[in-house]
Point group: C2
Chain length 353, copies 2
DNA sequence: TCGTGCAATGAATACGTATGTGGCGGGATT
DNA sequence: AATCCCGCCACATACGTATTCATTGCACGA
C-alpha cells in the first residue's frame, strides 16, 4: 500500500509547528510573517528566524481559501487559426515572456492557457475562479470574442484585454498606437521614394487593430496628397500563408505598386516570399514594411522594416492595470507608443538616377 | 467601505448550498459529484442536475487543501542568456504550446515561469508546493542546473526534464534523438556532394544535447570514411549572435569548408548572416543545415534545412511521464525520433559539372 | 419473529491559514 | 494610588471540501 505514494514529498512545515518552536500560538506566527504591527519586534524576528531555518513557506491553498485571493493571474491566449498546431503568433511569444516577468516581479503566479476561438464563456468563468484576474491576448475577428467579453463582465471577473482601445468596448484594454505606427511606417515608405503603396491586411472594423493600421496608412497617404487605391488593398489574417496568398492576389491584379505595408510581420514575410517567387526584388524594386517586430523580422533576408511594439512595457501595463482592477482601484485604457524600425527591406530608391 | 470591493465577483455556489437544495448533506454532494458508488443513482442525478443548473464548480483551493493535490503542473523555462529580454529560444515556444495543450486535455492547469539561470533551488521547492509536479525546459550548460536537479530530488518534488537522456542523471528525462538527427542531417549534407563539413555548437559534455549532435555529426563522417577536423568546429550557445560570431571565427581561420551543420537553427541563421556578409552563397557555394525547425527556419531565405523535433509528441510525453510520477507509477526516460526536413539551404551540388 | 448484513446517508472532523475578539499586564494619567 | 489605556498575545472560528466513522432502514435467512 505504502508503495504507491512512495516518493511522497517531505511534509512541509506549517505555521503551527513554528508556533510550537517559538513558544507562541499559530495566529501569532501568521501575523508575524505577514508583518502585522500587532506582534512585537522581538517575537517577530524570532519567528522569522525559525521560519527561515525551516524553509517555511505559506501554503497557498490554505491562504487562498481563507483570503479569497489566489495571487495568481490567468493568461488566455486565443489560438490563431493556423493549420500548424504549435505555431502561435510569434508576437504573442514576446508578450508571454514579458507578462510572465511582470507577474513574477509582483509575486503573482501566471496560469497560461491557449483557448480555442469558439465561444467558451464557461471556461472563462472557471479561470476567473482560479485566478484573481484574467489577461486576454489575441487579435483577429472582434465579433468572435465580443460575447466572451460580455459574459466576463456579467460574471464579475476582472480582466484586461490586449487589443485596440476604442469607445464602447466592454472592460479595459491596452494596445499600442496602431494608427501612429502604421502612419509612421507609411510615411517612411514614401520617404523612400515610393508612391504607389499597397496594404495587406483586413481593412474592416471587424478587425480593429488591422483597421487602425489601415487608417494610419490612409492618413499618411492623405498627408502627402495621395489617395488610397482600393485595388492596392488585399485582405489577410495574420499568418504567413495568408500574406503569401494576398500578395499573389495583388500581383495578379496587374496594378503596379512599388511599396507594401503589411498589417503584420507574418503577413509581410509571406508577401516577401510571394514577391521572391515572382522575381520582384526587395528592396530594389519594391519597399516592404511590416508590423510587430517579431524575431523573424530581423532574421529575414532582407531584414524587415517594421513597427516595434514595446512588449516589455505592454506586459507591465497589462499586469498593473489588471492588478488595479483586482484591488478595486480605478483603471484606464492605455495606448502605448509604437516605434518604427528601419531595416533593409525598405531601402530608399537610389537618388542618383 | 463597500466601494473598494465594488466589482466583487458574484458569490459562487458551494456544495453546502447544493446540499440544502437537494435535501441531503454536504458530504453526499461531494460524493455524488465525484462519482462515488456510495451514493444512489437517483440522488446522484438529482444533485448533478442542481449543480449543473447553478453552474457549480468545485473550489480548487478547498479541494487542494483537503486532498493535497493541486491538479496543476508547473513549467519552468530556463531563460537563455540573451541580451534581448523578450527573446526566448523559439524552439521552446513550440514546446510551450504543446505542453499547454497536453495539460488542458488532461484537465490539468499549467503554471508557467521563466527562470533565471542562477541556482534557485528555493524557488523550485516553491513551485513544487504549488504544483503536483514540475517540467523543466532548457538547454545549455549542464553543470549550471545539475545542483537544482539534485535539490529537487532531495525535496521529493516530482519532475521531468526536457534534455539529453543519459546515464547517471538525476530524475527522468525526455529528449529527441539528437544523435540520430544530427547524423541524418550530416549524411544529407554529404549526399549533397559536400565533403568538408563544419560544425558550430559546443562539442563538450557540459552541453549534452549539443554534444550528442556533435557525436552524430562525427559518426556520419566516420561512416563515409571522413575524419573530423577540429579546425572546422567552433563553439556557440544557442543564439543568433553566437552563431554569427562563430561563423566569422571559422571564416577567419581560412580553412575551406563547403558544408555546415549548426547545433541549432538560431546558430544556423546567425551563421547564414555571417556567410552573406562574406559573400558566400548559400546553397550554391555552401550547404547549411540546422536543428530544431523553429518557425524562422522555413521563413528564412534560403529556407533552412533542419532537423525537426516533434514538439507535439514531446509535450504529451513530458506531461504523461510527469503524471505517472505524480501517481506513483513507474516511468522511464524517453528518446523521441527526430526527422530531417530538407529545404533550400542545402541544395545539392549541380551534377553536370 | 428476530437477528444479520448491506446499502445509503449524516455527523464529525481535518486540511493550514487569517482574522475578530477577549484578556492580561504594565506604564501613563489623574 | 487607583484608573485607564494600550501593546501584545491566545482563543475561537471560518474558508469549502473530502474522508472516516457512526447510524439508520430495510431485505433476507433461519
Amino acid at each position: 500500500m505504502q508503495g504507491k505514494s512512495a516518493a511522497r514529498k517531505a511534509a512541509q512545515p506549517t505555521s503551527l509547528e513554528i508556533a510550537h518552536l517559538a513558544g507562541v500560538s499559530q495566529p501569532t506566527v501568521s501575523r508575524a510573517l505577514r508583518g502585522s504591527p500587532m506582534v512585537s519586534t522581538a517575537t517577530r524576528e524570532r519567528i522569522r528566524a525559525i521560519a527561515e531555518q525551516l524553509q517555511y513557506s505559506v501554503d497557498r491553498n490554505a491562504s487562498s481559501l481563507r483570503t479569497r485571493q489566489t495571487r495568481t493571474l490567468a493568461l488566455l491566449i486565443f489560438e490563431d487559426p493556423t493549420p500548424d498546431d504549435s505555431l502561435i503568433n510569434p508576437f504573442f511569444h514576446s508578450m508571454l515572456g514579458s507578462i510572465t516577468r511582470a507577474c513574477a516581479e509582483r509575486r503573482y503566479d501566471l496560469l497560461v492557457s491557449f483557448q480555442p476561438r469558439t465561444p467558451a464563456e464557461h471556461s472563462d468563468r472557471e479561470y476567473g475562479r482560479r485566478a484573481d484576474g484574467i489577461i486576454l491576448l489575441g487579435y483577429g475577428d472582434y465579433h468572435l470574442y465580443r460575447p466572451r467579453l460580455d459574459a466576463l463582465i456579467d460574471s464579475g471577473v476582472h480582466f484586461v484585454r490586449w487589443g485596440q482601445v476604442q469607445e464602447g468596448q466592454p472592460g479595459h484594454a491596452v494596445c499600442c498606437d496602431n494608427f501612429q505606427g502604421a502612419r509612421d511606417a507609411t510615411a517612411h515608405l514614401l520617404d523612400c521614394g515610393r508612391r504607389r503603396l499597397a496594404f495587406i491586411g483586413h481593412a474592416s472594423s471587424r478587425y480593429p487593430e488591422f483597421f487602425e493600421r489601415y487608417r494610419g496608412y490612409a492618413a499618411a497617404l492623405a498627408q502627402r496628397g495621395l489617395t488610397v487605391d482600393s485595388a492596392l488593398q488585399a485582405d489577410a489574417i495574420s499568418t504567413e500563408e495568408a500574406g503569401h496568398a494576398a500578395a499573389l492576389a495583388l500581383l495578379e491584379r496587374q496594378v503596379p505598386f512599388d511599396g507594401l505595408l503589411a498589417a503584420s510581420d507574418l503577413i509581410a514575410l509571406g508577401a516577401m516570399r510571394a514577391l521572391r517567387e515572382h522575381a520582384v526584388a526587395v528592396p530594389e524594386q519594391l519597399s516592404v514594411a511590416g508590423f510587430d517586430d517579431i524575431a523573424a523580422a530581423s532574421l529575414a533576408s532582407p531584414a524587415l522594416t517594421t513597427v516595434m511594439q514595446d512588449t516589455r512595457l505592454a506586459g507591465e501595463i497589462l499586469v498593473d492595470t489588471l492588478l488595479r482592477l483586482v484591488r478595486g482601484e480605478a483603471a484606464t485604457d492605455r495606448v502605448l507608443p509604437a516605434r518604427l524600425v528601419v531595416r533593409a527591406s525598405s531601402a530608399p530608391v537610389a537618388r542618383r538616377s
